[in-house]
């Protein structure tokens, strides 16, 4: 899967050795294959540069993901029910820029691009980045390939919050803040219940409570979902509105939604990226990470907090879009490498691109009607997920 990666640094390393003029340097790689030969080699070789240890680099996969995002954004603003040509779209984009050439664009086209398409595309990118980044972080901190950003009850809490607003007949402007509060509240309850449990002296390792947090999340989500379903059953007239929110949609996206999520996404993504090395340390398990000096309980709490804030904000403006948090990080792992230095940033960019394209599909396959986003991401996501599971099992059997 990463055949190109390990080879490249070594080629460069031996090229440098040649340049430095060590005649026996070229043979070093061969000799090191035999333990004993390598031992003699290094005993004699004080003039040797030590082995070059490089950490995983995200540069190339990140560049590819950014290119994909650029394409997705371009497609996203160009496609829609109003039949605007790419040239018109480009002109409409330019005309609002500070220094633009003299252009004559109909004001209605400018409005379509700037007030309808652009906020929707940008919001889709922010939501996709957050769901994918949050999923990657949850998978890292819970060391579970099936973890997604909804693991601790974000979806159930947001769903209940949104349902309350809709059946209560409150203004739809209240949807995002109440959904956000429900999502964040559900995770807080999960964490308080889960991290307190299972911490007797018998459990080895520090805290030892990851499993109990996940189980508490299952219980909290079940409870909140039950309440939400009861409310739905009591207010069947609101069903369609509730469902269209739950299945995820960006059709009402506005700049105010973008302004609402942007700070959360920036802070959350920044905090997650700052923990990329520690998430790599966690790959050897909580007990070994602790013996390497990591405060595992604090790391887990910080990462969950960051991922939850961002995910809750994303869910609050977009509804419950499934699968992005699982399929995007796993695709990145399989294709670019499993280090969180790669997985976190590349997942965020790739998740943004994926959701923008999924939203394009959502509004075109059945135009003028819109297909729920979760349907699109699941139709792509479910088969892919099976593939990920199979290949993970295959790799585990090999190791």
């Amino acid at each position: 899967m990463t055949a190109a990666r390990p080879a490249a640094p070594r080629d460069r390393a031996s090229a440098q050795d040649h340049a430095a003029g060590h005649d026996h340097a070229a043979g070093h790689d061969h000799a090191a294959g035999h333990d004993h030969a390598a031992g003699h080699d290094q005993a004699a070789g004080h003039d040797h540069a030590p082995a070059r240890v490089r950490r995983a680099r995200a540069r190339r996969p990140l560049a590819i993901a950014l290119a994909a995002l650029a394409v997705a954004l371009a497609v996203g603003v160009s496609v829609g029910p109003a039949d605007l040509s790419p040239v018109t779209v480009a002109q409409a984009l330019l005309v609002r820029m500070p220094w633009h050439p003299a252009l004559s664009v109909p004001p209605v086209d400018t409005a379509i691009v700037w007030q309808i398409r652009l906020p929707r595309v940008i919001l889709g990118a922010l939501v996709g980045a957050m769901l994918a980044g949050g999923g990657a972080a949850y998978q890292g901190v819970f060391r579970n390939p099936l973890a997604d950003p909804y693991l601790l009850g974000v979806a159930a809490g947001a769903g209940l919050g949104a349902t309350l607003v809709i059946v209560g007949g409150a203004s739809t402007g209240l949807l995002p803040p109440v959904a956000f509060a429900g999502a964040a509240g559900a995770v807080a309850v999960t964490y308080l219940l889960g991290s307190g449990a299972g911490r007797d002296g018998a459990s080895p390792g520090p805290g030892g409570s990851t499993a109990s947090i996940v189980l508490a999340g299952v219980a909290v989500a079940a409870l909140l979902t039950a309440i939400q379903e009861y409310l739905q059953q009591q207010h069947t007239q609101a069903l369609q509105q509730i469902y269209s929110w739950i299945l995820g949609e960006l059709s009402l996206a506005s700049w105010s939604d973008v302004a609402l999520v942007l700070p959360y996404v920036v802070v959350s993504a920044g905090m997650l990226l700052a923990h990329r090395r520690l998430l790599d340390v966690l790959r050897v398990g909580e007990a070994e990470a602790a013996s390497l000096g990591v405060n595992v309980a604090r790391l887990r709490l910080t990462v969950v907090l960051a991922a939850t804030l961002g995910t809750a904000a994303a869910v609050a403006v977009s509804g419950l879009i499934g699968f992005v948090g699982i399929i995007v990080p796993h695709t990145v792992r399989l294709s670019a490498g499993a280090s969180y230095r790669i997985v976190l940033p590349v997942s965020m960019v790739a998740g943004a691109a994926f959701l923008v394209l999924a939203d394009v599909a959502a509004r075109t396959v059945q135009a003028p009607a819109e297909v729920p986003l979760t349907v699109i991401t699941a139709v792509i996501g479910a088969p892919f997920f099976l593939f990920v599971l199979r290949s993970q099992r295959a790799r585990r059997d090999l190791s």
């Binding site: 390990p6 040797h48 030590p50 070059r52 050897v284 499993a338």
Partner: protein
Amino acid sequence: MIGLADVGVSYGATAALTGVTERAGDGEWLGLIGPNGAGKTTLLQAVARQVRYRGRIEIGGRPAGGMSRRALARLVAYVPQRPQLPPEMTAGDYVLLGRTPHIGYLRVETDADRRICGELLDRLALSAMAGRQLGTLSGGELQRLVLARALAQQAPVLLLDEPTSALDLGRRVDALELVDALRRERSLTVLSAVHDLTLAGQFADRLLLLDRGRVAASGPPPLVLREEVLRPHFGPGVEVLTTSGGERAVISRRQRDQ
């Protein structure tokens, strides 16, 4: 230098370790021996603070109980019996994990960290493996790599739980020779659990015989590796042979009716 005073560990109502008092000086190798379930692993885990313990553990004269994880990780490097080895991680990245206690929170490795790890890979004959994924390495290479990660912590105390259990007979001696050379180079205090009593006797300066969580005997190998000391704990079939070179070999002989 490490000191244990009346250290005990319980798993629920079960006492796994009781009243262990012991010292090991700089550069000293203390071998932990004893039958299965004797408490060897638990003792190592207590020193690494992987389990809660009673009593007092001091490292370099400072009580270990109140230290932060990071401070402890600068003093104690712990190699568990079955380390987790993510198959897609590269060997270079794996060794760099050992620098964690020296890297600030949310910081990343510096060139100095990479140089230290590169030198360790050279020292342990793993230079060519730096870019390889762990899933592609052999058992012996992985065993040295785990040791390299522990040494990257630059801690004066090295805890090894059955470091040779996955290796063949020849590789076991190689691995222990390597540990021996490294502890002399760096005057490391080594605490290791070793199943093979013969090897334990050849490498350790002193042996600590544990049984059911208590110290049954301790002292230099010739004093501990005696039939009358070992038999009550390992069974009546244990025999201690002396080789022509004067080394003690411990074997377990089949019991037959005459």
